[in-house]
Symmetry: C2
Amino acid sequence: MAPDRARGLPAPPSSRDKILDVAEARFARAGFGGVGMREVADEAGLGKSSLFHHFPSKDALYFEAVKRTLERIAAGIEPALRGPGSAIERLRATSDAMVDALAEHPTTAPLLLRSLFEMYPLADDVPPEGQAVDVVLQRLIGQLQGLVHDGIASGEFRDVSVPDTTQTLIGAAVFHFASGEFGEDLFGGASLFSAKAVARRRDELREFFLHALVRHPI
Amino acid sequence: MAPDRARGLPAPPSSRDKILDVAEARFARAGFGGVGMREVADEAGLGKSSLFHHFPSKDALYFEAVKRTLERIAAGIEPALRGPGSAIERLRATSDAMVDALAEHPTTAPLLLRSLFEMYPLADDVPPEGQAVDVVLQRLIGQLQGLVHDGIASGEFRDVSVPDTTQTLIGAAVFHFASGEFGEDLFGGASLFSAKAVARRRDELREFFLHALVRHPI
DNA sequence: GTCTATAGTGAGATAGAC
DNA sequence: GTCTATCTCACTATAGAC
């Protein structure tokens, strides 16, 4: 579309992208009900009405932000999930990819966690944008379950419950990077997103999962 | 106070307790911003103004509900955390106690998860009720870190990062019971809180943790 | 595509009778 | 301790000029 993109020039951020950036950060921190359209507009440097020009409703904005985050995560970890190699090798790569995807932006994990455990900003009807979120989520979870299943079938993993183990892997991976101030306190106030902290988390989580699942750990 | 309590008669639930029950359920599902004082009052069978007679503000109600939940959890798992025996035995007991405490009410885990990762319903000032929540939380987390530390010091556990492992244990334990519809979908629509599902979760999580941490798994 | 102005609704919170 | 009535304010969303 924009010819400048092909020449490697820095793409000027559209208002739409700016709005989504702000919305992603605010919704991640305060949840759907805790964010007003006015504050999003202010931080994006627009009038409140301009916001409704780009997104027809607050619901649409929320789900669009969640969808963008989920697709970034999926792009990061699906290659590892579907990769070649044994289940052990795929588990290794997937754990590392999960950590890297969740550590990319501080807003990613909180927003993912919210989309996993509150799925209903409005109690009644789910708009079409919400269904698109579900599609990406179901695909990811299915592949994660498949990995656990394959490891059991090949005898590489212990004979665990596939859905229980899936829940455990998700909770262990996502919570850490969603834990905000609480997590930082645990690490003496240090950021969870520094290169050093991320590298340590990557190693710790991978070894934790491997020891927990692999039948004959070395 | 009430002399009837000493005779074992069923204690009539006070309006205050009724309000807290309703608030706990609603805040767990929808978060601070997603709940209105009117709906709480309606479901508790009171007028909105009566609610403000019992709790001076929405913030106070929220933190009081969170505090009550946290204290119930602490009462359930602190005996296991502080119990006698080796680190392995304490980890076993603690994992089981965590599952039982989180499975007691469907609202417990979501509300705990929220208190862990959003700690700030209002961005600016933290009311005194919020600090009481922090005290309980810090005590619990400290004991959990202590357990991991003891296991490493005694050589029972691998040489893991204590804060990272603490985060992993919390995430793995709490997320499952907070995952609501998402989790039920994973288990083919079955409730996460049936006796059978809880028993399986207890076994799976305990074995997962033991294999992940114990130096020479059997 | 952005703005000003405003409609219309519901929120949290208070006053004061009973 | 509960109620009715009300205040004030912020919210989502829309209309229409530029």
